[in-house]
């Protein structure tokens, strides 16, 4: 590995990060227009659709809800859509658009997948092209890629209103937020994006199977389908559930290095934009920029570390005379640098799409995606969930700052009191509780130990990665793990559900209590929440409160893997 190659990889990371910073304002303004319920040019075409939906469903979009009402409507909708997708997957064998005659999914498999897509996780225990019909991909899964993303943004909007409004119980209307985000942001963006993908080589057809006779005379069965329409929202909505088993490593999902770069940008587009939207909502865009800088600082550190380790390569292969970067589980058209960058992006956000197999990363290269998820995916993060997760840490950081210097904790014009801090801690603690608790259960039960492909510390990493990915609603995997068993389908389903809604509900409760407070104008006693000191405090809070809990588990997995491997031990 030459230093020029190393430098060009770092160059790629910096160019990418600069573009993300440039995207934040335009996407943020677009989302802000929808947050405020303003009329946009898109209303001419889609306004009638919005009004028709409200009419049929009996919704008054102007009827404001308090946090409990918002939460109840949101939760019931999640339950109904889980049941809907469960039914579609179970009945697959009797439904149309299934020319290959694929059978319905098992009860545990269908339930796991329904939860995976409703929670924006898109964990996939199955191989898409061998198990799902085109109808299941579209009607069962694609709808959730939109709705789970829109739900995340709706919760973020409710929290923004909690900060922005004063002395009210009202946080907006869930149905209006859900519908507007879907119709005026996600759908139009995906129409353009999906057509760009098709033009670049991503298939979009209702056909299913093509029989090719190769140059050497063998038969090659090539699965095609409505890939582009799913791919677009899979990235933009930080869902990550691929049409194919190999996900964004499959040449049909991600045919060129340029498409790959656009896919990475689209994972971050809305999440970065929401930091700017937050600044606009609370009347000070510098508040939003401070959040974005803290996120990008953590991001660049993780991505650079991952690339440094992947570029250094695998010492075991170097001994065999295979020099250079680690290419096992990576595609030539992307190379090791864009693969390391993609891994950092997809786990910083709650996307979970992969363009390389994380399981075959070097031990420390694979630590980065794991650690990104364990921080709670608040480095840009999932659409909506990234910013509301980050604001929990901001609440905690002003509280800690208040304790240290004896000032009243305030954030963007709101006093932070014991109730908000308790709720924030509750939402933050669910992550280590589920990840470490369920991993501990899996490593002592035979059904759990039957899962890993790898032996030794890497086998532990595969299990840890699965529960981390599920609880953090990411969906990527150390895919050597055989997860399509009732044990893993069940336990990972529980992890995904708790990891999503035991954060969403406390966040809405915080929004409710903040909205009821008066505005507190910043005074000489207020801790400034813009500028370098604040950004440093945020990063420290995230690393210490969010990260430190997981260090022992990382020592048992990737670090032990690295050290024993460097000493020449194979498993």
């Amino acid at each position: 590995m030459t230093s020029a190659t190393l430098a060009s990889g770092f160059g790629l990371i910096l160019v990418f990060t600069a573009l993300v910073a440039l995207m934040a304002k335009p996407f943020g303004l677009w989302l802000f227009a929808v947050y405020e319920g303003r009329t946009t040019p898109l209303h001419r075409v889609l306004g009638p659709v919005e009004r028709a939906f409200y009419r049929v469903a009996g919704i008054n979009p102007n009827q404001e809800q308090d946090w409990r009402q918002y939460a109840v409507h949101l939760m019931l909708f999640q339950v109904v859509t889980v049941i809907f997708t469960y039914a579609v997957l179970r009945l697959q064998g009797s439904l149309p658009m299934n020319p290959r005659g694929l059978a319905g999914l098992s009860p545990d498999g269908a339930m796991n997948t329904a939860i995976a897509f409703v929670t924006n996780t898109n964990w996939q225990w199955y191989a898409g092209e061998t198990v799902l019909s085109n109808l299941s991909q579209m009607l069962g899964l694609t709808i959730h890629n939109f709705l789970s993303a829109a739900t995340g943004i709706a919760v973020a909007f409710a929290l923004f209103r909690g900060f922005a409004r004063a002395e009210t119980r009202h946080l907006g209307n869930f149905w209006a937020d859900l519908t507007r985000v879907t119709l005026y942001v996600l759908l139009p963006a995906c129409i353009v994006y999906a057509l760009y993908l098709v033009a670049s080589g991503v298939p979009q057809t209702f056909a299913s199977l093509i029989d090719a006779k190769t140059l050497e005379g063998a038969h090659q069965a090539i699965v095609v389908g409505p890939v582009a329409s799913q791919e677009a929202i899979k990235m933009l909505g930080t869902n990550g559930g691929g049409f194919y088993n190999a996900n964004s490593a499959h040449p049909f999902e991600n045919p060129t290095a340029l498409v790959d770069f656009v896919q990475m940008l689209s994972i971050f587009a809305l999440g970065a934009g929401l930091t700017y939207t937050f600044g606009k909502a609370v009347g000070n865009t510098r508040q939003g920029w401070a959040i974005l800088w803290a996120m990008l600082l953590l991001f660049v550190a993780g991505a650079s570390f991952a690339w440094w380790r992947e570029a250094a390569g695998n010492p075991m292969l170097h001994h065999l005379g295979v020099m250079g970067a680690n290419m096992e589980g990576k595609e030539v058209r992307f190379g090791a640098a864009a693969s390391a960058l993609f891994a950092a992006v997809t786990t910083a956000a709650s996307c979970g799409a992969v363009n390389a197999m994380h399981d075959s990363f070097t031990a420390l290269g694979g630590l980065v995606p794991l650690f990104n998820m364990q921080l709670g995916e608040i480095v840009i993060g999932g659409v909506g969930s990234g910013i509301y997760g980050f604001l929990l840490f901001a609440v905690l950081a002003v509280f800690l700052a208040g304790l240290m210097v004896g000032r009243t904790p305030e954030y963007v014009g709101k006093k932070v009191e014991a109730r908000e801090v308790k709720l924030a801690v509750l939402a933050i603690v669910i992550l280590p509780l589920c990840i470490l608790g369920l991993t501990a259960v899996a490593v002592v039960l035979p059904a759990g130990l039957a899962g890993p492909l790898a032996k030794g510390p890497h086998g532990f990493s595969e299990i840890l990665y699965a529960f981390t990915s599920a609880t953090a609603n990411n969906g990527s995997a150390f895919a050597g793990l055989t997860a399509g068993t009732p044990f893993y389908n069940g336990l990972l389903g529980v992890a995904m559900w708790l990891g999503r809604f035991l954060v969403v509900i406390p966040v809405l409760a915080i929004a409710g209590s903040l909205a009821s407070r008066k505005h507190t104008p910043a005074g000489p006693g207020s801790f400034p929440t813009t500028g370098g000191l604040w950004i440093g405090l945020l990063v420290a809070t995230i690393l210490i409160v969010g990260g430190l809990t997981f260090l022992p588990s990382l020592a048992l997995g990737p670090v032990a893997d690295h050290l024993t491997g460097a000493a020449g031990l194979l498993y």
């Binding site: 060009s8 049929v56 469903a57 409990r68 109840v72 019931l76 909708f77 109904v80 859509t81 809907f84 092209e129 579209m138 009607l139 709705l147 149905w175 759908l187 057509l195 033009a199 670049s200 080589g201 979009q204 057809t205 209702f206 093509i210 090719a212 006779k213 140059l215 069965a221 090539i222 409505p226 582009a228 088993n245 190999a246 490593a249 040449p251 790959d260 770069f261 075991m316 005379g321 020099m323 970067a325 680690n326 290419m327 096992e328 589980g329 990576k330 595609e331 030539v332 058209r333 190379g335 864009a338 197999m357 399981d359 075959s360 030794g456 150390f478 895919a479 893997d561 194979l570 498993y571």
Partner: protein, 203 residues
């Protein structure tokens, strides 16, 4: 408080059911159908899988790698897709851990085979490792150049000529930043077949 929640639950039933149905129709059926209609009209070749045909017979996709084992063809990367590799209905990586004994033995075997067929060349990493999809259509230029002598000998072609064919197929990173230098193996092998049959006709 619980009576408030109960009342809200009842109020949420109709919107939850109706919105599920409406969004399922819009996002699960109308949206993919509309994209399919436009894609089939505007980009029919790409929308149907970038298929390559020869005298009406589909011989593969421009984007999907296929297995090559004969000495007369350039070989792609080892593949973990399906039981025999390059199964385009079962994409997969090996998912082997970095310090896996299985990975060690597999790569050691591939290195030995490589040394036998391309003596003297340094081992190109991509040629002894499996890709993420198992369907990688590309190899690095080094991996292609290292096979020139073998292919030229098997076809009784001048090595310089085969070398030139490879050079013509090398694609460079976009703007010097995105992607890696690469060669599409199927395209290279088709060019090779054409060159061979042209030479046969010329004699």
């Amino acid at each position: 408080m619980s009576s408030v929640i109960n009342r809200e639950l009842v109020a949420a039933v109709r919107p939850s059911l109706m919105m599920t149905g409406l969004f399922a129709g819009l996002l699960g059926l109308a949206y993919p159908a509309a994209i399919t209609a436009v894609a089939q009209a505007a980009f029919p070749w790409a929308a149907n899988g970038s298929l390559i045909t020869d005298h009406g017979q589909v011989i593969g996709s421009d984007l999907i790698g296929q297995a090559f084992t004969s000495a007369r063809y350039f070989h792609g990367r080892p593949s973990a897709a399906g039981s025999n590799g390059y199964d385009a209905s079962a994409s997969a990586g090996s998912n082997l851990a970095p310090f896996s004994q299985t990975l060690h033995d597999r790569v050691a075997g591939a290195v030995k085979d490589f040394a036998a067929s391309s003596p003297g060349s340094p081992v190109p990493p991509d040629l002894v490792t499996t890709s993420a999809s198992g369907l990688d259509p590309h190899i690095s230029p080094e991996a292609a150049f290292s096979q020139v002598n073998r292919v030229a000998a098997a076809r009784s072609l001048a090595p310089e000529k085969v070398h030139a064919l490879v050079e013509a197929q090398v694609e460079q990173p976009l703007l010097g930043l995105l992607g890696e230098p690469r060669v599409n193996v199927l395209a290279l092998n088709r060019a090779l077949d054409e060159a061979t049959s042209a030479r046969a006709q010329g004699h």
